[in-house]
């Protein structure tokens, strides 16, 4: 499944691969001898793909059509696993729902936080290094058992968060333990660790030539106009990157839910993420064929979402390195 979905065949003379906007035809010779350099530079990646990635991916696709208990040979069952997923597995559907909610809430919040702080920090000033490190600090922690315990205490009934909310007259009780709020507590954990997209935004902001801002200043553009007509277009490849990657990561969210709920996805399956359920099926119930079918459904779902993002990106992503 091609995610970049090229409109033309890759071999066409215009050479517009799946990488996005087409090039004006005839400006350069097509591949010629330079093509060899492409494969030369790509050779480590190709070796890695052939050796380590392609085989296991194909194998897991095969397993998705089998009954495989890890220890004895897989036996072919055709589409059985896929049929069972949709017809007799309520927990599968509820894990889809939990994951969709998580993707839709956490991704925009996290990206907004990351971009906001990146813009805030993108000005020469004393103590900038300190601030950058301090804002990144939560992301250094990862999702460890220690973080999970801290999270539980902070969101516990009578803990800081519930004291705060009850000061505003809303008695929420403990968040991680309430089916209504448990997912939100994990969303907040993800948003709290916005350091990675923030650093990527910062690096992108650094790459924008200052002359563009000078020019905007000469034109008398205000903050918002400069942001809209200089920052956003110049940053758009990085925005696309963060959007695609954070969306994929959100679909695959596992570790946070695993440590916060002790691997169970509770209470009442309210934090049963898709990959957590997949893990339970594969490694706790020894149904790796079923888990592989789940994995490939996830791939299809992510591929569709990614393809849509790439497709829309042609309208809003600007590559300085491509033909003007």
């Amino acid at each position: 499944m091609s995610t970049a979905a090229p409109e033309r065949t890759a071999g066409a003379a215009s050479g517009g691969g799946g990488l996005g906007r087409p090039r004006p035809p005839g400006r350069r010779q097509p591949y010629g001898e330079r093509a060899a350099f492409g494969y030369l530079f790509l050779s480590p990646w190709i070796a890695g793909a052939l050796l380590l990635t392609l085989g296991p991916m194909a194998y897991s696709l095969y397993l998705s059509f089998t009954d495989y208990d890890l220890f004895t040979s897989p036996s072919w069952v055709g589409l059985d696993n896929y049929v069972r997923l949709f017809t007799e597995d309520d927990r599968f559907l509820s894990s889809v729902w939990v994951t969709l909610k998580y993707v839709l809430i956490s991704t925009p919040l996290k990206l907004a936080a990351a971009l906001g702080v990146a813009l805030l920090l993108n000005r020469p000033s004393r103590g900038q290094g300190f601030y950058r490190a301090a804002f990144y600090a939560p992301s250094l922690l990862g999702a460890s058992v220690a973080v999970a315990l801290v999270w539980r205490v902070i969101f516990d009934d009578g803990g800081p968060v519930s004291r705060l909310t009850s000061a505003f007259g809303a008695d929420t009780g403990g968040w991680t333990t309430d089916p209504q709020f448990a997912l939100l507590a994990i969303v907040l954990l993800a948003v709290w660790q916005f350091g990675a997209p923030m650093v990527i935004f910062l690096a992108g902001l650094k790459q924008i030539p200052t002359t563009l801002y000078d020019a905007a200043a000469v034109d008398g553009a205000g903050w918002w106009r400069t942001f809209r007509s200089v920052t956003v277009p110049m940053l758009s490849p990085v925005i696309l990157f963060n959007l695609v990657l954070e969306t994929i990561h959100a679909f695959q969210a596992f570790t946070a839910a695993f440590v916060v709920s002790g691997g169970r996805g509770g209470p009442s399956d309210s934090t049963l993420f898709y990959t957590l359920y997949l893990y339970q099926r594969g490694f706790v119930d020894f149904q790796m064929g079923y888990a592989s079918a789940m994995a490939w459904l996830l791939v299809v779902a992510i591929a569709i979402v990614t393809a849509v993002l790439f497709r829309t990106s042609r309208a809003w992503v600007f590559y300085a390195g491509d033909a003007r």
Binding site: Y131, L149, I200, P209
Partner: protein
């Protein structure tokens, strides 16, 4: 849609006294905003620190930030090591693995990204799509076939299964990251290089690699931190205690079937943070020196 830069002009800077005091007010507002946000963000980190000074029963049952009984014994217990292997060994193993992964990722991903971003060849689109697709499959279903491959190569219980993939650019995240950065470098760079008679290799080494520095530094930082915190692959591939890394050692404090050492676990978590904080501080400096300082763009 591009904001075409106008001809360079002297930026008029009004140096009046009013302007200067306005700048100062803005600076103060900026610092206050930053510190205010940080107070909220670092509050859980404060908890983590305070937990490492609490005795076990307080960690479990107390809801107050400050320890009632302040103890430092957690740290000495954390430093005791396990299974006859010292904590320093875990530290140095983690440093080696993370360091090798950094080098591998920076080199291999930059090379692959250059090909995707700046060179044109048949199948580029489909290969790129495949690379993105490798991001989509959950790690848990790849675990067993990949283990079988490394087992064939007789690499179990060595650092190879952790490090080799990084030298083969299997981390699509970073390839994609660098592709996005290299594609946004101005088209004129490639042309100028070609006019000067640079082949793709020299153009890569002397133009694109240096200019992609923010992306390279970002890759280095993330690779280090993520490898440092990574648990699953290190768990699967390392057997002997003397090859264990910090994330593995950290998990040994909490075993639901034996005595759990919550205090030392928190102490160890704090100690584990120190190297990555230092690494981040050392490398984030390089993020500042982007290409922005030099006069490029404007044709």
């Amino acid at each position: 849609m591009s904001a075409a830069p106008a001809a360079p002009a002297a930026t008029a800077v009004g140096a009046s006294r009013a302007g200067r005091s306005r700048a100062r007010t803005r600076r103060v507002v900026w610092h206050v905003t930053c510190l205010g946000l940080l107070a909220v963000l670092l509050y859980p980190v404060l908890w983590l620190l305070s937990m490492s000074f609490k005795p076990a029963d307080e960690i479990i049952s107390s809801l107050s930030l400050l320890p009632e009984r302040f103890i430092v014994g957690n740290y000495s217990e954390a430093m005791a090591g396990s299974g006859g292997v010292s904590v320093w060994r875990f530290f140095s193993n983690s440093v080696i693995v993370a360091g090798l992964c950094v080098v591998g990722n920076v080199l291999s991903c930059a090379v692959a990204a250059y090909a995707f971003a700046r060179l044109r060849f048949r199948w580029r689109g489909p290969l790129f799509a495949f690379m993105i697709a490798t991001l989509m499959l959950p790690a848990h279903v790849l675990l067993i076939p990949q283990y079988a491959i490394f087992n064939q190569f007789d690499m179990i219980d060595t650092f190879w299964p952790l490090v080799l993939p990084k030298f083969l650019a299997t981390d699509a995240f970073f390839v994609f990251l660098m592709v996005q950065f290299m594609r946004s470098l101005p088209e004129e760079l490639g042309q100028a290089a070609r006019i000067d008679g640079c082949g793709p290799i020299r153009a890569f080494a002397y133009i694109f690699l240096p200019l992609a520095k923010p992306a390279l530094v970002t890759t280095a930082i993330f690779t280090f931190i993520w490898t440092w915190n990574d648990f699953l692959s290190q768990l699967i591939y390392l057997n002997s205690p003397e090859n264990y890394t910090l994330p593995l050692a950290l998990r040994l404090f909490i075993d639901q079937t034996s005595q759990s050492s919550y205090g030392p676990m928190f102490a160890m978590s704090v100690l584990t943070l120190i190297p990555i904080v230092l690494f981040f501080l050392a490398f984030q400096r390089l993020l500042v020196e982007g290409v922005s300082t030099s006069g490029m763009g404007g044709s």
